[in-house]
C-alpha cells in the first residue's frame, strides 16, 4: 500500500567526539536527560507527528541501538501497516558495501523505500535533541508546492560558519546553499531535516551514485545538485529548541538546559510526550540526611548525599557525605561516600569509590569518566 510519508533516521554515524565517554556506542544511543536516549526525541517526534513508517539506518556499533528500538513498541510504532525497520548495510546481488555517506545510505535502501512506496521521504538525524511537528513541515511543503524542503534554524551569525547556510528569498525559496561558509551571508542553518518528493530524490540519488568524486552527502552533494538543476527548494523555519549534541560540551550543556525553569524543551508537555524504554526500577529514594536542589532525578536512584544542579539517570546511587554539582550521571552509576564531583559527565555503570575528587568547580572544561569505569577510593581525577 502506498504511504504518504516514510521517515528515514540516519543513525549510523560514528560518535568520534563523544568517544572519550564510550567508544562502543552509536551517538543516538547515548543517554540524555536522565532516562532518555538521544534517538528517543526523533522517534517520539515521528510518533507524535503521526508518521508510523520509520526506517532507522544503522552502521556504527548498532547492537545497543538495535535491541533498544526493537519493534518500536515504546514509541507506539509497532504498527500492522508500517512500523520501525532497522536498516543496516546488506549484501546485494552485485556485492555489498558500507554506507559511504548520508545520501549513499538512503540510496542503498532503494528497495526498502520502493517497497513502502511513499510520496514523500523525510530524512532525519538520530542525534539531535528537539521537539518538532513534522506534519506542519509537510503541510508547508505541499502549500509551497516544494520539491525539497529543508528545515532551518537561526544560529548566532558568528557561529554560522560551522553550519550549512541557506540563503533564501522572501517566500522562503532557497537560491543558494553555503556549506560551512567562511563569510556567511545569512544565519539560517540547516538542521539536517529534509523532506523530498521521492520521485525527484530518486533521480538525484542515482545520479550522485555514479559520480565517483562525490562524497555522497545530502548537504554537500544532493542539495547543491538540486539547486543548480532548478529543483524547487524551500527553507522551513524552525523556531524552538534544537541542539546537536555531538560533543561532550554540548551533551553536558543540553542536560543542564533541562534544569532551567520554563526551559524550551519542556519534557513535561503532555501533548508532546517523549517516549522511551522505561527501566523497571522502584521509585527514587531521598534519605533524611540528603539534599537535592535544582536537579532532575530518575527512578531507582538512591540519594544519601548532596546533589546540586545535576541530572541523574535511573538507578544512580549517591552515598552519604558525597557531593555532586553541575554533573550528569548516567545509568546505574554508583558514587560512594564522601566523593566530590564537579562539572562532569559520569558514564553508565561507573563505580566511584569513597573520597574521590572528580572535576573542578571553576574549570571551563567538562571532566569525563567513561562508561564502566572503576575508580579506586581516594583518586583525584580531572
Amino acid at each position: 500500500m502506498a504511504k504518504e510519508v516514510l521517515a528515514l533516521i540516519l543513525a549510523g554515524g560514528q560518535s568520534t567526539r563523544l568517544g572519550t565517554l564510550n567508544k562502543k556506542l552509536a551517538k543516538p544511543a547515548f543517554t540524555f536527560g536522565g532516562k532518555y536516549r538521544i534517538i528517543d526525541f526523533t522517534l517520539s517526534n515521528c510518533a507524535n507527528s503521526d508518521i508510523n513508517t520509520v526506517g532507522v539506518l544503522t552502521q556504527f556499533e548498532p547492537l545497543v541501538l538495535n535491541s533498544y528500538i526493537g519493534i518500536g513498541r515504546p514509541w507506539g510504532l509497532d504498527r500492522k501497516d508500517g512500523g520501525v525497520n532497522i536498516l543496516p548495510p546488506y549484501l546485494k546481488e552485485k556485492g555489498g558495501e558500507w554506507y559511504k555517506g548520508t545520501a549513499n545510505a538512503v540510496y542503498q535502501n532503494m528497495d526498502y523505500i520502493e517497497m513502502q512506496n511513499p510520496k514523500y521521504i523525510l530524512v532525519l538525524s538520530g542525534d539531535h535533541i528537539y521537539k518538532m511537528d513534522y506534519a506542519k513541515m509537510i503541510d508547508f511543503h505541499k502549500e509551497k508546492e516544494s520539491e525539497a524542503t529543508i528545515t532551518v534554524i537561526k544560529v548566532p551569525l558568528k557561529e554560522a560558519s560551522r553550519f550549512g547556510i541557506m540563503n533564501t528569498r522572501k517566500d522562503n525559496s532557497i537560491y543558494e546553499f553555503d556549506e560551512k561558509p567562511k563569510q556567511p551571508k545569512n544565519d539560517l542553518a540547516s538542521m539536517g531535516v529534509y523532506l523530498f518528493n521521492w520521485e525527484i530524490l530518486k533521480k538525484y540519488l542515482a545520479k550522485d551514485d555514479k559520480n565517483k568524486s562525490s562524497s555522497h552527502d545530502f548537504g554537500k552533494n544532493i542539495i547543491p545538485a538540486m539547486l543548480s538543476a532548478g529543483v524547487k527548494l524551500y527553507a522551513y523555519p524552525f523556531k524552538d529548541y534544537w541542539k546537536d549534541v555531538g560533543t561532550i560540551e554540548s551533551l553536558w550543556q543540553a542536560n543542564m538546559d533541562l534544569l532551567k525553569i520554563d526551559n524550551e524543551l519542556n519534557l513535561f508537555d503532555k501533548d508532546w510526550k517523549i517516549y522511551s524504554v522505561n527501566s523497571l526500577q522502584p521509585p527514587q529514594y531521598v534519605s533524611r540526611e540528603s539534599k537535592v536542589v535544582n536537579s532532575m532525578i530518575s527512578e531507582g536512584c538512591k540519594i544519601f548525599g548532596t546533589v546540586v544542579n545535576s541530572v541523574l539517570s535511573p538507578g544512580v546511587q549517591i552515598g552519604k557525605g558525597a557531593y555532586v554539582s553541575d554533573t550528569v550521571i548516567m545509568r546505574n552509576a554508583i558514587i560512594r561516600e564522601n566523593t566530590i564531583i564537579h562539572r562532569s559527565i559520569i558514564g553508565s555503570r561507573c563505580e566511584i569509590n569513597e573520597e574521590c575528587s572528580i572535576g573542578k568547580e571553576d574549570s571551563s572544561n567538562i571532566t569525563v569518566v567513561p562508561y564502566d569505569y572503576f575508580m579506586e577510593g581516594g583518586t583525584v581525577y580531572e
Binding site: 513535561f268 522505561n278 523497571l280 537535592v292 532532575m296
Partner: protein, 379 residues
C-alpha cells in the same frame, strides 16, 4: 499410562488464579471506583502488580484473574498483561468478570464466580493450580511452594508467614494452626492465634480444584473458597509452606497508610525490591522528577514526573505530583497527578488521584486516622 510430549510440557506446570474476593469495608474511601487490587501502592505501582510479578517471576505463564465488580480501572491498568509479558499468543493473562444473572440477586461469593467459568479451568492443561489474592503484598516464589508440596506429597499446600506476637499488623487476617510436621490443623478466624498469618494462598492439583467446585455446587451456605478447603482437613493432607520474606496485607486505611510509610526505610525497600525479583507495572512515560531551587525533600519515596518546589518529609509521592513553593507536606501519601498549592500544610493525609489542595489549606490527620481526600476532589 503414556504421556504425550504435550502432556510432558504441562507436567509440573502451574495455572495461576488470582481471586479478587477482597473485603473493602475498612478501606472503602479508596475503593469507590476501584477494587483493592488497583489501589496505587509504593509510589509507582498498583497492588495487583506484586502478585502478577510473583507469578511471572515464578515462571507461571498462564494466569486467570477473577474480579468482583468495579473492574474498569483494572482492565485499564493490566493492558492485556503486557507489562508482565503475559500478552502471549499462547497462554497469558485471562480476565474473568462476574456474570450477571438478572434472575438471581443472591450475594454471589468467589466460589460462584469461579464456578461460572469452570469449563475454562477444565480445559486448561496445567497440572497444578495456585490460588491467591492480590492484597497480600509479598514476593513469594510459587515454585518453592510446589517443591514443598511435592516433597510432602500433600493434597493441598497453604502458605503462611510466622510473625512476632507483638506485631500489630494483620489484625483482620486469619491464621493457621499447625502440627509439628507442618500439617495444617485448622483455620483460625481473626486475632485468636496470630503468629501464623494465613496468606490465603493455596496450591493443589487442578483436578482436585475442579472436584471442590463441583462438590459445592448444591450446598450454597459456604461460598468462600478457604472455608471449603479447610472443611477437607480430615480426609485430605493439607500441608503448609512457610514464607519468610516481606509481607503486608492491605485491608484497611490504617494498614494501607502505615505500611506505605514503612517503605521509607532502606531495609524495607530492599526486602520488597530485589534485582532478581523485578516488580513490573504499566509504563507511563513520565520525565524524571524535577527538584527546584527551594525544594526540601527528606526521607521520601518519589516516582517520576513530579515537580517539587516546596518541602516534603517522610512521604510517598506518586507520578506527576506538583508541590508548589512554601507548601509543606509531612508523612503523607500523594497519589498520581495531585497538586499541593502554595502555603498549604499537610500532615498525615492521603490524597487520592487527581485531587488538589488549595492555597494555605491546612489538613492534619493522625497516623492511625489519616485524612483521606477522595479522587478528583479540590479542597
Amino acid at each position: 499410562m503414556t504421556i504425550s510430549w504435550k502432556g510432558v510440557r504441562y507436567m509440573n506446570n502451574i495455572l495461576g488464579v488470582i481471586n479478587l474476593n477482597e473485603k473493602e469495608d475498612k478501606i472503602h474511601k479508596l475503593t469507590y471506583n476501584r477494587p483493592i487490587a488497583s489501589i496505587p501502592f509504593a509510589g509507582r505501582y498498583r497492588i495487583i502488580d506484586f502478585v502478577l510479578s510473583n507469578m511471572v517471576n515464578s515462571k507461571i505463564d498462564k494466569v486467570f484473574m477473577f474480579t468482583r465488580n468495579k473492574y474498569r480501572s483494572l482492565v485499564d491498568h493490566i493492558e492485556h498483561g503486557r507489562p508482565w509479558d503475559l500478552d502471549r499468543k499462547n497462554e497469558g493473562l485471562f480476565m474473568f468478570n462476574p456474570l450477571i444473572n438478572y434472575y438471581s440477586n443472591v450475594r454471589r461469593g468467589d466460589m460462584d464466580i469461579i464456578r461460572d467459568y469452570l469449563d475454562y479451568i477444565f480445559y486448561t492443561k496445567e497440572e497444578y493450580i495456585i490460588i491467591c489474592p492480590s492484597n497480600m503484598i509479598c514476593t513469594v516464589n510459587f515454585r518453592d511452594v510446589l517443591k514443598k508440596h511435592l516433597e510432602k506429597k500433600a493434597d493441598i499446600t497453604v502458605v503462611y508467614k510466622n510473625i512476632k506476637e507483638s506485631d500489630e499488623m494483620f489484625e483482620d487476617c486469619d491464621s493457621i494452626a499447625l502440627d509439628e510436621d507442618g500439617m495444617a490443623i485448622d483455620l483460625i478466624r481473626k486475632k485468636k492465634q496470630h503468629n501464623n498469618v494465613f496468606m490465603e494462598t493455596f496450591l493443589m492439583k487442578r483436578k482436585l480444584f475442579i472436584d471442590l467446585l463441583n462438590k459445592k455446587i448444591l450446598g450454597a451456605d459456604h461460598d468462600l473458597f478457604k472455608d471449603t478447603v479447610f472443611e477437607l482437613k480430615n480426609n485430605k493432607n493439607i500441608y503448609t509452606y512457610e514464607y519468610k520474606g516481606y509481607l503486608v496485607c492491605i485491608n484497611s486505611i490504617k494498614e494501607y497508610f502505615g505500611r506505605s510509610l514503612d517503605l521509607l526505610s532502606e531495609d524495607t525497600m530492599n526486602n520488597l525490591f530485589h534485582q532478581t525479583w523485578p516488580i513490573f507495572t504499566k509504563v507511563k512515560d513520565e520525565p524524571p522528577t524535577i527538584y527546584q531551587k527551594n525544594a526540601v525533600v527528606e526521607n521520601c519515596l518519589l516516582a517520576g514526573g513530579c515537580c517539587i518546589e516546596g518541602e516534603v518529609y517522610d512521604s510517598v509521592i506518586f507520578r506527576r505530583v506538583n508541590i508548589h513553593d512554601t507548601a509543606s507536606v509531612k508523612s503523607c501519601i500523594l497519589m498520581q497527578n495531585t497538586t499541593v498549592e502554595q502555603g498549604a500544610v499537610l500532615e498525615y493525609a492521603i490524597l487520592d488521584k487527581n485531587s488538589r489542595v488549595s492555597k494555605n489549606m491546612v489538613l492534619k490527620g493522625t497516623r492511625d486516622n489519616p485524612i483521606v481526600i477522595e479522587k478528583g476532589q479540590i479542597i
